[in-house]
């Protein structure tokens, strides 16, 4: 006999939502059809297994972390200037570190004198240059 009952009808039978007439026909059919009997057994076993899958009970602490992270993300991006402040703070930290580093570089004292000397040399040279330039302009006038 050809099997006209599919998995959907068998599930309706299991849930008790099948049409009365169809139920009688299906029960009669099952007496003969090994395939449908096996399908019904498998579906019963599946429902048993699936209904015994428990929901997770322990909620990880990370949930709190995620919540705070999202709130920070939402409410920090709203306050303008936060990123600039952060950037300036980072820059200050970098400069402070670089200064500290320079204090331990060998030959620091000599370098310091050299820089000072270069400064005074540059200033006297620029003064002389300025005077010479001014003199030239005055002569042309």
């Amino acid at each position: 006999m050809e099997c006209k009952f599919n998995s959907y009808i068998i599930q309706e039978y299991l849930e008790g939502t099948i049409d009365d007439l169809e139920k009688v026909l299906f029960e009669e059919h099952m007496k003969e059809c090994k395939k449908c009997r096996l399908e019904l057994t498998h579906l019963k076993l599946l429902l048993f297994e699936i209904d015994h899958l428990k929901e997770i009970e322990v909620i990880p602490k990370d949930v709190e972390f995620i919540r705070n992270n999202v709130l920070d993300e939402i409410f920090n991006t709203k306050s303008s200037g936060f990123e600039v402040k952060k950037f300036i703070k980072k820059q200050k930290e970098t400069i402070a570190l670089a200064t500290n580093f320079m204090n331990y570089v060998p030959g620091k004292t000599i370098a310091k004198k050299g820089i000072k000397g270069a400064n005074s040399l540059l200033s006297s040279a620029s003064k002389k240059g300025f005077k010479y330039g001014l003199k030239l302009i005055q002569e042309r006038i």
Binding site: S7, Y8, Q11, L38, T41, H42, L43, L45, L46, L47, E49, I50, D51, L53, E55, I56, I59, P60, D62, V63, I66, R67, N69, V70, L71, E73, I74, F75
Partner: protein, 193 residues
Amino acid sequence: MEVSEQKIIKLCQKSRREGFELLFKKFENYIYRICYSYTYSKEDALDIMQEVFLRIYKAFDTFDTNKSLSPWVKRITVNTCINYKRDNISKHSDVSINASIDDGENTFEDVVADSCKTEDKAIYMDTKKLLEDSIRQLPNEERMAVILKHIKGLSYESIAEIMNCPQGTVKTYIYRGRKLLKEKLVKKGVWEV
């Protein structure tokens, strides 16, 4: 002390951090449980959860303040899960024949080839695990409908409301989902009937 839903809504309308903090706290366990049942992975569940929180914040203007928060939050959670890209689901959870199964160098292929280890593997991959894996591999809508029906124990009517589709469609999703699950478990030889 529990803060009333109306107070939470008012704070959220004013876009106050405390409002959203209370809202997230109120629903986070529920959200996590749905996300976990959907992915069976802590990392993926947390990932989706983060997305759900952001969507709640962004969509709050569209929330009808005369209604209850719960169905609205559930709908956002379910939609976020369904839309969560399949590619994002942890790669480690898919069983590949070349994948390592014991954090060592043994692949599934090695274990299958070695008859002594097959029994251990069968114990490890018990029915529950196989069922969870099979649920995770269902198409998105079928997966969510099956979870809401069997794990959350909701009625067809409630599922239809949350998934925003007709009851008939929900029934089809569930029947199709069960059929696929049954076929998968039979194929894996879970029931020797």
